[in-house]
């Protein structure tokens, strides 16, 4: 008999980490050719971009993100709104230009959660919108960068889940 015995137990639920991961993927909805329909809230077929288009990856500050879903309107006739907040560190010409370019655009955003799920914010006929507030911070230890918000309102259902692949570079 081994000196240490660790017998397996059957796991019922397991860990349930909160938060979102440190990378998300963004595209303008006008650049997307197909967003397959969800089955039981899961889009399992790949998103296809239009010719020469791709989703771009944004690095998110660790532990700065949160996806929210809530009802709005009257309790007897509600709708849903979804959103997300997150931080992008640093102020630089390239980062600022990229984020400025996304403002006012209808967007489709894929956000991987720490749980392993990937949520879809935005539809082809109703995109999500981005807002931000940038700051340098007052002191050297303060956060310097952008506080971003994603807004997606007037929904019939909460954001679907995505198990497809992310198109990350455009065709030549």
């Amino acid at each position: 008999m081994a000196c240490v015995s660790v017998a397996a137990i059957s796991r019922i639920c397991g860990p349930n980490p909160g938060g979102i991961k440190t990378k998300m993927y963004v595209a303008r909805v006008v650049d997307i050719l197909t967003l397959p329909a969800a089955t039981n809230k899961v889009v399992a077929t790949d998103i296809v971009m239009k010719s020469g288009k791709a989703m771009v990856a944004w690095d998110i500050e660790l532990d700065s993100g949160n996806i929210t879903v809530e009802t709005e309107g009257s309790v007897s006739n509600p709708s849903l709104k979804a959103g997300a907040v997150f931080k992008v560190a640093r102020n630089s010409p390239g980062i600022d230009a990229a984020i400025d370019g996304a403002i006012g655009q209808e967007l489709l955003i894929l956000i991987p959660e720490n749980s392993g799920n990937v949520r879809i914010l935005g539809q082809l006929d109703k995109g999500a919108f981005l807002g931000y507030k940038g700051a340098t911070g007052l002191k050297s230890a303060d956060f310097a960068g952008k506080d971003l918000t994603v807004t997606w309102e007037g929904l019939f259902e909460s954001p679907n889940y995505y198990t497809g692949v992310v198109p990350i570079t455009a065709a030549p």
């Binding site: 198990t163 992310v166 198109p167 570079t169 455009a170």
Partner: protein, 68 residues
């Protein structure tokens, strides 16, 4: 090494040349770098980026006695 069983359709669709699989945590290149295993993964998920290289041809279903 070129694929034999599958071919990628990214060019046909005007789609991307690289895909990132969040589930597998890896980048899949739609060119000679793609592996058979990656292609099979995409195909099994009914991905529009990969299809069978040689689809099965329709078999002759005519009864033998009608053949001349």
């Amino acid at each position: 090494m070129a694929l034999s069983k599958y071919k990628f359709t990214g060019e046909v669709l005007g789609g991307p040349t690289e895909l990132y699989s969040i589930l597998r945590k890896e980048t899949i290149y739609l060119d000679d770098r793609i592996t058979d295993e990656q292609a099979e993964y995409l195909f099994n998920r009914k991905s529009p980026y990969v299809e069978l290289a040689k689809p099965e041809t329709a078999k002759n279903t005519l009864p033998a006695d009608t053949a001349k």
